[in-house]
Amino acid sequence: MAPTPPADEDTAAVRLVVAGDVAAFDGIVKRWQGRLVTLAWRFCRDRTMAEDMAQEAFVRAFRALHTFRGDAAFSTWLTAIAMNTYRSCLRGREPRGAALDLSRTPAGGSDPFTGLRDQERDELVRRAVLALPAKYREPLVLFYFQEMDLAETAHVLALPEGTVKARLSRGRDLLRQRAAKQFAGWNTRVSET
């Protein structure tokens, strides 16, 4: 994960932009593009879509910049806007479930699954997160993938910390159960071949 940009630079840029210096927003975009695109990608696993969603989030942030009062950290404020944007962009879309891309497994060998290394298993679990209900997926992505602490995750999602904690726990349980089911299915198929 890229280091969090310094808050002072953001606060100064916000002041300039609100005063009419649109070019100052360029600094915010450059400092935050990696985190916002990565966050979007973690909800869709599609680069083009992730960049489109992140762009929309930046535009919404620009339009709402005058509402930033500094009560919360700029990172929290921006991430909350990004989350709302991604939520509305992804609304109505089928989750890109945990389909295993067999074309990525190395060719050769009698067992087609011999190339399924830990790395691929890990990727499969990450994709399985996308198939979780949104109320579990969002805390998991923010807490684990974005490395936010419980308080920050709760702030971004506008939920009490206890609720976030419960959803994280339930989300992990669901993920483990689903992963276990899938791996069991594959192992059966492998043993049959």
Binding site: D26, V37, A50, Q55, V125, L140
Partner: protein, 115 residues
């Protein structure tokens, strides 16, 4: 055989996802869109004064209509609200009450929607 991930594996896997580097022209593209957004005229503010004048006009008009109709002393064929003690209201009072309640309900809905 593929080993099923346990909770520790899940924590490790979730915490170690890779980072996506944006395309080289991403920031420039965003700034183009932002500049276009900045050049757009600001959204029109809701015309509160016209709204208030309209509501007041409705009230005055309703009051005038009620006063005219009240002189006709029209009453309903029955008095269905007698059991709850509201049988004494005249037609004009009833109409005025209904108009006020309707306007208040519409106003509340509008305010909640535009808040």
């Amino acid at each position: 055989m593929i080993r099923e991930p346990d909770m520790d594996d899940l924590d490790r896997i979730l915490a170690n996802d890779e980072t996506l580097v944006p395309s080289s022209g991403f920031a420039a593209g965003v700034m183009d869109v932002v500049r276009n957004a900045a050049d757009e005229p600001p959204p029109l503010a809701f015309p509160w004064w016209r709204f208030i004048v309209g509501v007041l006009g409705c009230i005055v008009w309703s009051g005038a209509a009620i006063s005219v109709l009240g002189q006709l002393d029209v009453r309903g064929p029955a008095d269905p609200l007698a059991p709850i003690g509201l049988s004494g209201l005249s037609f004009a009072q009833w109409t005025l009450t209904i108009v006020i309640v309707t306007i208040a309900a519409c106003g509340l809905r509008f305010l909640r929607h535009h808040r």
